[in-house]
């Protein structure tokens, strides 16, 4: 309903022809998912022809994101696709792009302007990711027939990163919805989002929960989830007693590829390549042909496990 807002301004200035430059600004650009996303966008640009793509890594730095937006505006790009490090900066970003008359679209994380109107979006937002993970975890939990009393849910994430909070909150909501009120106790593990830190912190949590038989594991990303699962397995928990649901599948796939018996039971796979392609294609469509940005292009996602990950297109390096 709202994608028209940013698209409309450009339509007024008329479609452009010739070489286009689209900026793809990404948080955490050094992470695999976003590398894939950039690759997807680049591939799409190539196939569309005459499109130049400018990828900028914003890290987790909200201030740098503002600088980068200013910078690509000054460089007169024809469209901006942004994955914000923090959704609160949405209004500033949208306002800046609007003032410059450059269409903007959010990828992966929804942003809204000052009036609360969301920008066009491509991807799969954090809450939805969490929901998918939570639903799958609930299914594993139910199928295993575990009881709330002797089960714990370990949830590992960087607690000051809003995108992480959304994901784990989403997982919790979906899990609760699926199971009902009597869900196992959820233990939050604050990590720096790395597998080693998750492993270290989980070690202490496992100690504190001696006697627990079964474990459900999720996290902000695959690093958190696999780190916790590794810690559980190192402390002697059998893979059968672990229901780990990863997010990204790029690390969980490794156990599956090696045919290891593992507590990483499933993972949500979102094709970064597809998101990148979709976002870029829509943006070029708007700028070149005046096609309105779709308000929401939800990325194709798949819940994968050891049996179907290859078929779903997970690339395991």
């Amino acid at each position: 309903t709202s994608g028209a807002e940013t698209g409309g301004d450009v339509a007024a200035s008329g479609p452009k022809s010739g070489k286009l430059t689209i900026a793809y600004l990404q948080k955490q650009g050094d992470q695999q998912y976003f590398v894939d996303e950039a690759d997807g966008a680049k591939a799409a640009a190539k196939s569309l022809g005459d499109v130049n793509i400018k990828v900028v890594d914003l890290g987790t730095d909200a201030n740098k994101a503002i600088s980068a937006v200013d910078s690509v505006i000054a460089q007169k790009v024809d469209g901006i696709i942004i994955v914000v490090p923090d959704q609160q900066i949405g209004p500033q970003v949208i306002a800046a792009a609007k003032a410059a008359g450059i269409p903007i679209m959010a990828s992966d994380d929804i942003i809204k302007d000052a009036a609360g109107k969301p920008a066009a979006f491509a991807g799969f937002d954090g809450t939805a990711m969490g929901n998918a993970v939570g639903t799958q975890a609930a299914k594993l939990y139910k199928d295993a027939g575990w009881s709330a009393a002797d089960t714990r849910i370990l949830s590992g994430y960087k607690q000051d990163l809003s995108v992480c909070t959304q994901r784990v909150d989403g997982a919790k909501d979906a899990f609760t919805k699926a199971i009902g009120s009597d869900i196992p106790k959820i233990v939050d593990i604050g990590t720096d989002n790395s597998a080693t830190d998750a492993q270290n912190k989980a070690g202490a949590v496992i100690t504190a929960n001696a006697g627990v038989k079964h474990w459900v594991v999720w996290g902000c990303n695959d690093e958190n989830e696999t780190g916790i699962v590794t810690a559980l397995q190192n402390s002697g928990v059998a893979p059968a007693n672990i229901a780990g649901v990863g997010l990204g599948a790029y690390l969980t796939c490794k156990d599956w590829a090696a045919k290891q018996d593992t507590g990483n039971k499933a993972a949500l796979f979102i094709s970064g390549v597809e998101v990148g392609k979709a976002a870029l294609t829509s943006m070029v469509g708007l700028v070149r042909d005046g096609t309105k940005l779709p308000a929401q292009s939800i990325a194709k996602t798949a819940m994968v496990d050891s049996s179907n990950w290859e078929a779903a297109g997970v690339v395991c390096t």
Binding site: D57, A62, N63, S71, A74, P85, Q88, Q159
Partner: protein, 340 residues
């Protein structure tokens, strides 16, 4: 070798030096190599993409370096005094989030005043730990780096707070101009000029050089070192708070961590690249500002030229090394011992 901080360059005593030498003397030898590096970068980037020279782009570079620049300026003062403040980023984060929170309930004036007050208290705490706890500045501020960050996360529950994007004052800070110059750049210029003047032309500044150069000599000469340590850390806290407010203004909300994490290393890098010796007693605001500009141009130019983020890291490292090696080759210091 030290340059602009030395008293009257001997050349001033010699009658009528050539104008070029005068300019050189004013800028300082150390800074010449930074200027050369900037010039080389500008030429390389500009020939690849003439948009680089656009007024707009120059404004973008200026506003992008404002926050780092502010912190680099105060970090330079701290380093000249022979100490280090690793907590500046944390203070900026804490004040960013608190300024937005106070603003939300009490308006912009109190938001700014409150944030600066918090910054000063943080600086005072740093100073007290160092002076009265006798803790080395690096450890003291490493500790408060963690502590202030924790407090920022606690007060905000780890989430961005408030919305300042609709407030005229914060909008003025983030996007306004003064005499055609973006407010952010004006803030940086004012802070840099103030620091420069204090360091160079006041006895307070000269005493900071003395304390950093030789604290025993300073103490024996009757300088109250403790007062200087406390004072410099408080000023640093205040400036870090201004940086935090600018982060709030730019992002439109108070950010407890994002946007301020890592600023400590960036500010130290800029100060060191600008010629401040980590042992203390040496450094200039001019050099630091040139270093900040150099790093800002590098980042901006690499984005402009579509350099991959991974290559950007390599390039940044290489540039740092090359710039400092050139400085060192130009200086006539004896090439023995551990480089200072």
């Amino acid at each position: 070798m030290s340059s602009t901080d030395i008293a009257v360059p001997a050349s001033d005593l010699v009658a009528a030096p050539s104008p070029i030498r005068r300019v050189f003397a004013a800028v300082g030898v150390q800074n010449i190599s930074l200027l050369i590096a900037i010039a080389v970068l500008v030429v390389i980037i500009g020939t690849q993409n003439p948009l680089f020279f656009g007024l707009n782009n120059i404004r973008v570079i200026g506003t992008a370096i404002a926050v780092t620049g502010l912190l680099a300026v105060v970090q330079t003062v701290v380093i000249i005094m022979g100490a280090l403040d690793i907590s500046v980023g944390s203070i900026a984060g804490l004040t960013s989030v608190t300024s937005a929170m106070i603003f939300t309930v009490a308006g912009p004036a109190l938001g700014v005043v409150g944030a600066v007050a918090i910054g000063i208290i943080c600086g005072l705490l740093n100073g007290c730990i160092i002076v009265f706890g006798r803790v080395n500045p690096v450890i003291a501020t490493l500790a408060t780096l963690a502590a202030f960050k924790g407090i920022a996360q606690l007060v905000s529950d780890g989430r961005a707070q408030g919305y300042t994007g609709a407030n005229p004052f914060f909008v003025f800070l983030a996007r306004g101009t003064l005499l055609g110059i973006p407010t952010l750049i004006v803030v940086l210029i004012v802070a840099a000029i103030l620091a420069h003047v204090v360091l160079r032309y006041t006895s307070i500044g000269r005493n900071i050089y003395a304390v950093g150069g030789n604290d025993i000599a300073s103490r024996l000469a009757g300088i109250n070192i403790n007062r200087y340590i406390l004072g410099v850390y408080m000023v640093t806290g205040a400036v870090a708070a201004i940086a935090g407010i600018l982060i709030t203004a730019r992002t439109g909300s108070g950010q407890p961590v994002s946007g301020s994490e890592g600023l400590e290393l960036e500010s130290i890098t800029a100060a060191a690249l600008g010629g401040a010796a980590l042992k203390g007693g040496k450094g200039t605001i001019m050099g630091t500002i040139l270093a900040v500009i150099l790093l800002g141009i590098l980042t901006n130019g690499m984005t402009l030229l579509d350099v991959n983020a991974f290559w950007q890291n390599v390039a940044k490292g290489a540039l740092l090394v090359i710039a400092v090696i050139i400085q060192q080759l130009r200086s006539k210091e004896r090439r023995i011992g551990l480089p200072a």
